[in-house]
Amino acid sequence: MEAIVTSGLTKRFGDLLAVDGLDLLVSSGGVVGFVGPNGSGKSTTIRMLLGLLSPTSGGGEVLGSSIAHPSRYAHRVGALIESPSFVPSLSARANLLSLAALRGLQVARVDAVVETVGLAGRDRDLVSTYSLGMKQRLAIAAALLPDPELLILDEPTNGLDPAGIVEVRNLLIELGRQGRTLLVSSHLLSEIEAACEQVVIIRFGEMLFSGPLSELKARSSAHIELAPEHEQDTTRLAELLVDRGYAVRRASGDVVVEVAVSVAPELNRIAASGGITLRKLSAHEETLEDTFLQMTGATDGGNALVRSRQRAGRRALFASRKSSTGKGAADA
């Protein structure tokens, strides 16, 4: 069964197309990373799934119920949306009791979630005295209150120190092992890589990839750069490698072979067998981050630029169509 399915999910704020016909499929069970650069539409998508925003068009289902009727699944879903949101002048416990009362839950659930996130002993302190990391854990506790089948966490490691990040990551993995479905949005790929089995990548509200993390990693390319001690041997080195079945290219005086880094010793042996001593044998493997950046664009600024260019392109196309239509009409 699918925990989340969307079909052509679209959200427009005036001229801004925040989510563009998103077809999303998240299977039940496990931790799924929801990745995209800032402003890519992750939070807007999450808000539509939780009933905080209405889609402009398209739709979807959460735990088998339409997102047009969030009250049908709200009791089975816990969420952390953007930043932790609590009454600072109340204790953490009072904040959780208030949310538990709203959901019709027993006080025992508050004790349980406080224990789960490691806030026992500090739960009677005012939220205003909490560090950002503690507030983040409190927000996860609030999300866990309904003992949810589906947890949607928007940037759960935001503002945490390295120890806090590891703590939250382990908590997410543990929650995933309990059979829950976790949709974890983040722009920290290292976190996604460490905690998630599945990943969904979006940009400009469009889905770029959805599948196992291993499949995404398999898309990563690697190459090895070789340079002989004597420059005049470069062509002979390239010919030796081609003879052994490798595809090579030349770049900046180096011979570049597009192979996995594990092949480096073999390439070294081939060169040695031809009497060539290597001055350089450099293996390069694309990280998940490289793959992600290739898919989504370099930076937020880059995205903004690309988007702005796309918009300008669309405007130009629209203008040219208009003018050609006008010309046609005039000609007629």
């Binding site: 704020f13 808000r47 939780l50 009933g51 905080l52 925003l53 209405s54 969030p70 009250s71 709200a74 879903v77 969420a79 949306i81 953007e82 930043s83 949101s85 609590f86 009454v87 600072p88 002048s89 109340l90 009072a94 904040n95 009791l97 208030s98 949310l99 009362a101 709203l102 959901r103 019709g104 609030a142 309904p146």
Partner: protein, 260 residues
């Protein structure tokens, strides 16, 4: 609905609300009574200010005469606290959690109104008791005879009822403006500005408007009727303002997208 009410009551149970809201209303009740006794019979007060005469203070219900001085102040306190309770849901981002946990948003607003109405009842009760206590202390100090004071409990209950109804409608206005502006400061400023300046301007232009305008209606409601608006009319108008405010708030809550 009861879930929302319980949830709201837990969040209202904080020192700033209890001391500032309920305590504030009680202090205004006591101070206004003191001023009523201290300034009894004096003329030259500002436009619209009501200062009881010495005879009014010595009348059978003289112990609540000072309370009427505080009615609009208590109304503004109610407006401010309803506005703070509403706007802080937005400023803290709590509205995201609340609306996710209870997607039927009309329940959120009606439950909040119920909780704040209970809060207002507690505040106006405290104000009534404080005003009576102040009257008992002030009467001998300002040589006002208490010989005619009678039927204390029924009169106090009636005053409390009128004050609570008036303050609740003020509060509803505060909640509605805060919901629209997402700011308690803006709501309070609009409330005070309307009461002190705008309504007087409207009445100066169209004097008949004082028969139904919000400030005049709620003053009449709190006082148990005025020459301009009879209590029954004030009750009907107040109910209409309350219902209208709640209906608009429910509509805003239902249709508004939660983007913050």
């Amino acid at each position: 609905m009861l879930r929302v009410l319980r949830s709201e009551l837990i969040r209202l149970n904080r020192p700033s609300f209890l001391a500032g809201g309920i305590g504030g209303m009680a202090v205004f009740g006591a101070i206004s009574t003191f001023i009523g006794f201290a300034a009894a019979g004096k003329t030259g007060a500002g436009p619209g200010a009501y200062i009881p005469s010495e005879a009014a203070l010595a009348a059978p219900d003289g112990y609540v005469a000072g309370l009427m001085l505080a009615a609009n102040l208590i109304g503004i306190v109610a407006l401010s606290f309803w506005a703070i309770a509403t706007a802080s849901d937005y400023s803290t981002g709590l509205i995201r959690l609340l609306a996710q946990a209870e997607p039927r948003r009309w329940r959120l607003i009606v439950g909040k109104a119920l909780a704040l109405a209970l809060f207002t009842l507690a505040g106006t009760l405290a104000a009534t008791v404080a005003a009576y206590g102040a009257a008992l202390a002030c009467a001998p100090a300002f040589d006002v005879s208490t010989a005619a004071w009678a039927e204390v409990l029924p009169t106090l209950l009636e005053s409390f009822r009128n004050l609570a109804l008036s303050a609740t409608v003020w509060g509803t206005l505060g909640m509605l403006i805060a919901l629209l502006a997402r700011s308690s400061g803006v709501a309070t400023a609009i409330g005070i500005g309307y009461l002190v300046v705008f309504e007087n301007m409207i009445v100066a232009v169209a004097s008949d408007a004082s028969d139904w305008l919000l400030g005049a209606t709620l003053t009449s409601l709190a006082a148990g009727g005025t020459p301009a608006i009879a209590f029954e009319s004030a009750l009907q108008l107040g109910a209409a303002y309350f219902a209208g405010g709640i209906l608009i708030a429910v509509a805003v809550m239902h249709f508004r997208e939660i983007t913050y």
